[in-house]
Amino acid sequence: MSNSKLYKGSLTTIILKLLNEHDKMYGYEITQKVKELTKGELKITEGALYPALHKLEAEGLLDVEVAKVDNRLRKYYKLTETGTKETVNKLEELAEYIKTMQTLVNPKLA
């Protein structure tokens, strides 16, 4: 995933945030959206994305819907009610983390 292990721990938060802003998304769409929003800075690989999606599904945070699109089956992911609540928690956690890191890295800005 990308060029830094720093992003690894945020993948779940990134997925939840995107799905919170869209009704439903499929795996490839998520990778392209992240690439677009970060102007190519962050590229999520299949090896990182799909295990994260399946883990969230197994935990009940995501629901899936399979549809036939363009000669193949496509699996869409969307947030469950629990997933929506968890998104708020994860975003708060991430904001707290960024604030703490800023304090450590540059106390003048804190």
Binding site: G47, P51, E59, V66, D70, R72, L73, K75
Partner: protein, 217 residues
């Protein structure tokens, strides 16, 4: 310009992944969509319409990552199984099955000699295993459903529960007093109940896969 792969090209990707040991249809289905979407984007962005060259280029860059995903998927499959299993265990019907099993075994113990009783206990693993195998055969051979990761991983808990009655059978020689017999009946009834719960879980999973994948394809 909209670039969409043909049915034959999609099938090519599917066959390639299956031959690369991505044997479970649910995992493979998602991979096919991802690979196809990426290839469509590449073909749209390039001047070439040569699917096979673009496909080759894609696989050179990404095959290792794709196959890594395959292994990780199985961990999620196990998690799904145990979650579905726990949900069924907490179903009130499970308690009824246990009570019926216990009552049935107690009746057998009370009305037959110890050797007949031990023989019946020895058949308990087969009851559960037969249930699972029958479900598997019906959905694969009769309904022609493909292999799905979550269903096949069910074989592991079945094997665990299959062994427990065999261990009990070996100890049943020591069943001389009523308390020991009741313990043995209780354990065998629990194991039989859990195996039947697994059969119920298998059927529910097969049905959901049939609804999700077969009816759409």
């Amino acid at each position: 310009m909209t670039m969409k792969l043909t049915k034959e090209q999609i099938q090519f990707i599917d066959t390639y992944l299956e031959n690369s040991d991505v044997v479970f249809a649910d995992i493979r289905m998602e991979m096919v969509d991802h690979v196809a979407s990426d290839i469509e984007d590449r073909m749209r962005a390039s001047t070439t319409n040569d699917f096979y060259n673009v496909f080759k280029g894609y696989m050179v860059q990404n095959k290792a990552q794709l196959l890594k995903e395959n292994k990780q998927f199985l961990k999620s499959a196990d998690r799904k199984i145990w979650k579905a299993f726990l949900k069924e265990v907490l179903n009130p019907l499970t308690l009824l099955i246990f009570l019926a099993s216990f009552g049935g075994f107690y009746f057998l113990y009370s009305n037959f000699n110890i050797e007949t009783f031990r023989l019946i206990i020895s058949y308990v693993p087969l009851i559960g295993l037969s249930g699972f195998l029958l479900t598997y055969v019906v959905y694969h051979k009769v309904k022609n459903l493909k292999r799905f990761s979550v269903v096949e991983r069910l074989a592991m808990p079945f094997l665990v529960f299959y062994q427990i009655p065999n261990i009990i059978f070996n100890f049943s020689y020591q069943a001389k007093d009523l308390m020991t017999v009741l313990w043995i009946l209780g354990i065998v009834s629990i194991v039989l109940t859990l195996m039947l719960v697994l059969v119920r879980v298998s059927i529910k999973l097969f049905k959901s896969y049939e609804k999700q994948y077969k009816t759409l394809a």
